[in-house]
Symmetry: C2
DNA sequence: TTTTTTTTTTAGGTTTGTCTAAATTTTAAT
DNA sequence: ATTAAAATTTAGACAAACCTAAAAAAAAAA
């Protein structure tokens, strides 16, 4: 089934609000979408007719199994585009959300599959959130900072805590970005610094302050 | 200024129809957009208020300088996305139009600039049409087939005349695709076959039939 | 030059997604 | 348990983009 941009935005927002509280209220959704409660009620009726919601008047609502699947698909598209924008087009992390918000509504299934393949099936987006696969499954992610990851394990950078230009400068210098594969050779207890090795580049030392801000995942 | 998807589609279609005949008629535009003449008239009024058109009732219409700039920008987005879909996501040439039709309406300027940079500023899209630059300028393209290009010149594949699976198989085998840089080492008058060299691959011989179907450009 | 045909525009209606203001229901407070 | 406050829904409007049917203008034919 196919959904309008508006419908998709409602579905996605309901999904996000459900992560925090099981059922969602009209007001919170109106707030999330920067719209009016009356508009929300209108759309809820529509989504209910399309059988994506459990909804009882005045009682709140939640996505049913179908709605959840649809939501996960939208989230998948959003996060894949974010990953693309950061790793391929070299956008900075904080600039990609708005653009991905547009791109996510281009709903060709083949497009998204081929994009996923092109990006090498990344499990995590640049903000550290997991990317659902075709069936809506996402990896349960053991995301740790370089300060905590086991030594000698091959890991992949998933996100960075501090996005200041200064941090960016440092990361660029050491060839570290989202998706970079690296391993921690050793860690010095004296100051918490870590020696890391990025493929094809010389090993380098990161201070504890930096290490704590680089998050990685491993399988 | 920002335009709705509908407005953009009208602008783009007027631009395309103008390539053939200087002024455009209501009926031809309705036909191009698969819509009704009455709807076209409605939109023309709107585009006229937005000062993109020269339009006299019952007399036909055409884009003015501003409208033309807007149109070229949409064409630029469309063709860059087509190039992306074919060269990066490995879509076949005939499958990309519909998807690019959606992507072209995502109108972040920064997105398109970075995409252009990522793709290495391609001057020609996978159908052999020139890609306008930021200012709407496009290269006048000397597009020739491998059967006609001068020997020893560095050229880039811009499009392929025959898109059958058989042709694709052959091209893949020789590592030839849209954007591939190659040169023609020699050509045999006996049968019109050509020896070509693709970077990092062994030289190979293409029959005249194949050579005639591979179009290239050079600066 | 009339008449006929074709093209284009106007008039009025529909759908989607939004809004405001009023009514209703639920929740909280006295 | 009432009453007051907050949340939600209904009723009725509006803009964008489309539609059909009828009117008007231009082009073609007699």
């Amino acid at each position: 089934m196919n959904f309008s941009v508006s419908e998709e935005n409602y579905i996605k927002s309901i999904y996000h609000l459900q992560q925090q509280s099981d059922t969602v209220t009209t007001n919170s959704l109106a707030n999330e979408l920067q719209t009016r409660p009356a508009s929300v009620t209108d759309m809820l009726k529509k989504l209910q007719t399309k059988k994506l919601l459990e909804y009882e008047k005045y009682r709140g609502f939640r996505l049913n199994a179908t709605g959840n699947k649809v939501a996960l698909n939208i989230v998948r598209r959003h996060r894949l585009w974010e990953y693309f924008l950061v790793t391929k087009l070299r956008f900075e992390w904080d600039k990609v959300h708005a653009i991905a918000e547009d791109l996510e509504h281009v709903s060709s299934i083949e497009l998204i599959q081929k994009l996923d393949n092109f990006l090498n099936y990344p499990p995590i987006d640049p903000h550290g959130d997991p990317i659902p696969d075709m069936n809506g499954k996402m990896a349960v992610i053991k995301q740790v900072s370089i300060a905590d990851v086991p030594l000698k394990k091959n890991v992949t950078v998933s996100s960075v805590g501090n996005q200041s230009p200064e941090m960016l400068e440092l990361l660029n210098h050491y060839h570290i970005g989202i998706g970079t594969a690296l391993k921690v050779n050793m860690r010095f207890d004296f100051d918490g610094s870590a020696e890391i090795k990025v493929l094809k580049h010389a090993a380098c030392i990161l201070s504890e302050q930096v290490a704590k801000n680089i998050f990685v995942y491993h399988d």
